[in-house]
Point group: C2
Chain length 405, copies 2
């Protein structure tokens, strides 16, 4: 007998037919004698409709009321799944965040879970009752419903698994696992049986939209064995685990890409102390995150600085910089949205030299120019023109020996 | 400055355009310096959709989960109206039943309100904050959401007005008041400026679907001055008040009709003690309510008994009686769904003789046969063939001098 948390996303509970299929899947675990908590998202499309109504009601909407309205989606799914389980003869009960309670901080709209009281759920496990928990929501210190930010149900599931000391947290989704690369682009991509928390975290931050980044952070912090698997196909998915659990580590586990960044080059910046602070200060004040940064070698007292921001922030970033152009004394500003960040990721990199070198060589052979480079302990990222995305991903996938046989 | 409760039904909050209109209406009362609590229903159609999903999930559904799912409709409207008010610069906050709390008994699906803690709302009134309360819902002793039964938001509003000791409870709906008769049938029907609780209660029970019966009972019990008015037309509606407030009492205030009843005649019942109990016992066991009953004078040791049940129960009632036909020894059973109950209602009847006589005479003059008669202190009801509905209503409306000038 094990204690399991199963999480089903919006496409897995999109309508009554799918909710019944989820109930059958949950029943199998309950019948096997496991203690089961299920975390559910809103039915696909519902959250978007609710958010649309909120923004339609009030331009600068109050986050408390946003949470009240938007959290209703998960409430409905939790009740319906409990009913569908009961219809199959499974003892089941729904739980809202405020009933358990799932205590969060007071940051309405993107609250963080602080504590989950598991007493009532464990009592009900002893009575052979399945808990169906509304994901994405909690209770703030003001006795009002909070929500955890988009995709927050993954975080609810992992946090609940940590609090319940569950053996595993299964995240059922519309993909059947984590791949070495996006299979829509690289036909030879392979599903990974296991991946480390660190790698999964890089994958998530780099745009592989399988798990919410925050949920991976939590899984890593509390060492929650987390499985990503398909709710539509009945076979094992990818286990996200501690590095120790992976005996044969690949040097590189996967290749990710992110089209959501844009590049800005500031040309002819006077090269004096404090100039970087003067440039990035206005951006920070506008709450614009900067990702990759590179500064060229200075020539005749001037330098070029290139960096990336989220594509959605590009116009605001260039406007903020033009405001301070006179003060900074740079010559020109070159925004470029047509870039993609490509990254090779692997914990094996720590003990293998030459990983970055193979990347640069492979791209050079295909005639692809590298615009910016950034590295961390377990990844190398490069910024290239986005028209080369497919070419680069396929060439790197082959070069790092990731292609399926 | 007064304390007011305003209630808006599903058609008044059917979409964002109407929610904004409601917000404007509420703002007017807040701007006038009143302390305002608003009670809202789910957006029109939403509750039906949610109930449909519930019955689709589980044939014999669990009332706790029904309540969890169905109460989400009012939650959404309350949040959206709070936002729409904030958008107009009105300080507003939404409240769910569990947050106030509105404490109910444990009868999920049709709970009764036991106590409303008004502390938090009164604190917020002092801060000039409008309370937007989700109707139809409360918190049961099991710490789960309860609902009050269909139309329960009227009851929420009146109960809240009683608890807050409000000066008035305004029920905004899609009709502009209570009429002397259904204006779709009687073109000369007049809107009443005032009506007593007792009369309104008879009207509601007799099928005038303006207010939920339970809400009128509560209004009468706690003497809540309740106004029925239109959310679409800006003019006074009908005030439901204590008899003392009505100086010039009409003998008859209104004429109601109910097409939801059906008649059953049991022919040739042996006329001995205990036979009525033997007939109505099986019906009570099948949870079938019997309304009007008439027993003919006995002839040769046998009698006929006629009574009415809800039309929806007619088949079950005849089946239950056929099961006991041999034991009771009656000759025949004659079910008849083609009847209508017509009632004249008025507290003035208590002090005026001849009200029933005028009804019988008027119907006789039109050649309408009366099948069953029942009376109470303030109403006379007759059962007639339903093909005479319009003729009877118009003739009675004129006879009792109710026609508009």
């Amino acid at each position: 007998m094990a204690r399991l948390v199963l999480k089903f996303g919006g496409s897995s509970v999109a309508d009554m037919v799918r909710i019944r299929q989820v109930a059958l899947r949950v029943k199998r675990e309950a019948d096997a004698g496991h203690e089961v908590a299920v975390v559910v998202s809103a039915m696909a499309g519902v959250t978007n409709q609710l958010v649309g109504w909120v923004t339609d009601s009030c331009r600068l909407h109050d986050a408390r009321e946003y949470d009240t309205v938007v959290s209703s989606g998960e409430q409905v799914t939790a009740g319906l799944l409990a009913l569908a389980l009961q219809n199959l003869g499974v003892n089941a009960r729904s739980w809202m965040g405020w009933q358990i309670p799932v205590k969060t901080d007071s940051v309405h709209g993107k609250a963080r879970i602080q504590d989950i009281d598991t007493k009532i759920l464990i009592e009900r496990f002893a009575q052979k009752q399945v808990a169906v928990v509304a994901g994405f929501q909690g209770l703030g210190p003001d006795n009002r419903v909070t929500t955890l930010g988009r995709g927050g149900s993954d975080t609810s599931a992992v946090a609940l698994a940590a609090a319940l000391n569950a053996e595993r947290c299964d995240i059922f989704t519309d993909v059947d696992g984590v791949y070495t690369c996006d299979p829509r682009i690289v036909a030879k991509a392979r599903k990974l049986a296991k991946i480390t928390y660190e790698e999964m975290l890089e994958m998530a931050s780099l745009g592989a939209k399988v798990l919410q980044t925050r949920s991976v952070e939590l899984a890593m912090k509390y060492r929650v064995r987390t499985q990503v698997l398909s709710s539509f196909v009945d076979k094992p998915g990818t286990l996200v685990v501690d590095e120790d659990e992976i005996v044969e580590k690949e040097t590189v586990s996967g290749i990710a890409y992110n089209r959501d960044e844009a590049k800005i080059t500031i040309v002819g910046v006077p090269d004096r102390p404090g100039v970087a602070a003067a440039i990035f200060g206005p951006l920070a004040q506008s709450a614009i995150n900067v990702d990759m940064i590179v500064q060229n070698v200075s020539a005749d007292g001037h330098t070029d600085i290139t960096f990336t921001v989220a594509k959605a922030d590009l116009d605001r970033a260039t406007a903020a910089l033009r405001d301070v152009q006179a003060k900074l004394g740079f010559k020109a500003l070159k925004p470029d949205p047509n870039v993609v960040k490509v990254s090779v990721i692997g914990v094996g990199m720590r003990s293998h030299a030459g990983v970055a070198q193979l990347m640069f060589k492979t791209l050079a052979e295909k005639g692809i120019n590298i615009q910016v480079i950034s590295t961390s302990e377990i990844k190398v990222s490069v910024l290239i023109a986005d028209e080369y995305t497919e070419l680069a991903l396929r060439a790197l996938h082959t070069a790092y020996d990731l292609d399926a046989a």
